[in-house]
Amino acid sequence: MNTLRLYCRSMAILIRSQLQYPLSFFMQTLAQLVMEGGEMLAVILLIDRFDRLNQWGPGDLYFFFGLMSVSFYLTEIFGRGVTGNFPSMVRTGQLDTVLLRPRGILTQVLCSAADPRRITCIAVGTVSLVLGSRLAKIAWTPLKALLLAESIFFSFWLLLGLFMVEAILCIHSVKSVELANALTYGGRSACEYPSDIYPRPLRLLFTVIAPFALVMHVPASVILDKPLYGWPAWAAFVTPLSGLALFGIMYLLFMKAMKFYRSTGS
């Protein structure tokens, strides 16, 4: 509990730091809105043109997009230490400071950065979720709401885990490795759409290696009453756990990599 308190207090300080430059904060938040709005526009245009993708109608597609958008940017807001700042922490030696304090390394990395500007992206995602829910005429039940919350929660850990690939590589090479972005940003762009529209190799990639399909698409499809792969509804409560599993594996690799950390400068 103490760790959570520390995290919350750190977030408060970071957000206050950003608000020290209100105009800059405002402009960047607006820029994020335009950016994510553009992403959504792409989906709107696509739906306008094709109005169905396999079994998925417009409402379904908005729902999938919204789920990804909300999850991804929650990770960006609260996991900024891993998703954005880690390479520079290694390069500038700020990671030394982390090692000098009697707290977990990853805890401190997560406490070291926040990105509240993404709040507008989450707004766009929420609008898309609501729109999708309306168009697809989802019959909400408490269980479905729970499933949505679960999916978002574990998506956070899945994405954090994927972003840690980059962190692990950059401990070894003291440089950010763009390769790792293929899984994170690439995964986001691809998995805004349900995985069954893709050919088999990609479907495997997003099920086995970066399990977006298990964490997002399976629960979402149950919420939409069109179960993916014909799996039973209870499976949708289990598969999102794979996100946490991936995070766990990455966490172990991360701690292993930290043994090779060699610090920079004096």
Partner: protein, 269 residues
């Protein structure tokens, strides 16, 4: 019984050189940052650690504080190995890097400090007492509500020191703490370090290029060059050794920097 004991410490880094024309692979070069360094420090000692740039001083400090793992050799600080018992070890030490900030840039000092209190789990009462004591000794009273970024270098250094001492460490590492400070700030900082050492019996290892710091604070100095320990003992003995040698060449006002430069030359650094 020694408090810090360093035994045959070795550390190498592999540096990849720029690829030369015509060759496909980049050449690797092994840099010996520390070669077989051993020393002991007693509790409450104030030791100066000097040597030219790149001698391995910071590497030693990083190993002693648990950031780096050595290739071979043993280190114990108060009975613990820094890199295996990281969390327990760092709770008892304070580190100040002269060129790096450990506080939060855009918020008032007081906010940074209270976050540090949470990080180190310092009980509220101890924290209050210690903060009062430190703000008085470091004359930080007026600055506590100012964000770090608005402070001058000297003020910032004092703020950093306060931050690294809030959890009352028994061991303090200072890596070039007086870099870029004016005369007044330097003197104040030295007074403070002496005070902290005397009042709390804090062990201090001071890395610096400022020989005045060493002369004012440390009765014992260790000299490091090319990763090897070259001298360990009193400052006066060290100075007199090189003083006699050079008085012929440099006239009367032999300042310490000249002496040290002479020594580095003499040792072939």
């Amino acid at each position: 019984m020694s408090y810090i004991s360093v035994d045959h410490l070795c550390k190498t880094f592999t540096v990849r050189k720029k690829r030369e024309k015509g060759s496909f692979f980049r050449e690797k070069e092994t840099v010996h940052a520390l070669r077989d360094v051993s020393f002991e420090i007693r509790k409450g000692e104030l030791v100066g650690y000097i040597g030219p740039n790149g001698a391995g001083k910071s590497t030693t400090v990083k190993i002693l504080s648990g950031i780096l793992v050595p290739d071979s050799g043993n280190v114990t600080v108060g009975g613990m190995t820094p890199w295996t018992d990281r969390k327990a070890h760092v709770r008892r030490i304070g580190v100040v890097f002269g060129q790096r900030t450990q506080l939060w840039w855009d918020v008032p000092l007081l906010d940074s400090y209270s976050l540090l209190r949470d990080i180190y789990r310092v009980p509220e009462e101890d924290y209050r007492k210690r903060l009062d004591e430190l703000t008085e000794a470091l004359q930080l009273g007026d600055l506590l509500r100012t964000p770090l970024r608005l402070l001058s270098l000297g003020q910032r250094m004092r703020a950093e020191l306060c931050g690294s001492l809030l959890h009352s460490p028994e061991l303090l590492f200072l890596d070039e703490p007086t870099i870029g400070l004016d005369a007044v700030s330097k003197l104040a900082l030295r007074d403070f370090l002496q005070w902290e050492n005397r009042e709390r019996n804090t062990t201090i290892l001071l890395t610096t290029h400022d020989m005045e710091d060493i002369a004012a604070l440390c009765s014992r100095v260790m000299v490091l060059g090319h990763g090897e320990k070259l001298y360990d003992g009193g400052l006066q003995e060290l100075l007199s050794k090189y003083d006699t040698k050079k008085t012929v060449q440099v006239e009367e006002h032999q300042n310490i920097d000249h002496l040290i430069a002479a020594m580095y030359r003499d040792l072939g650094l």
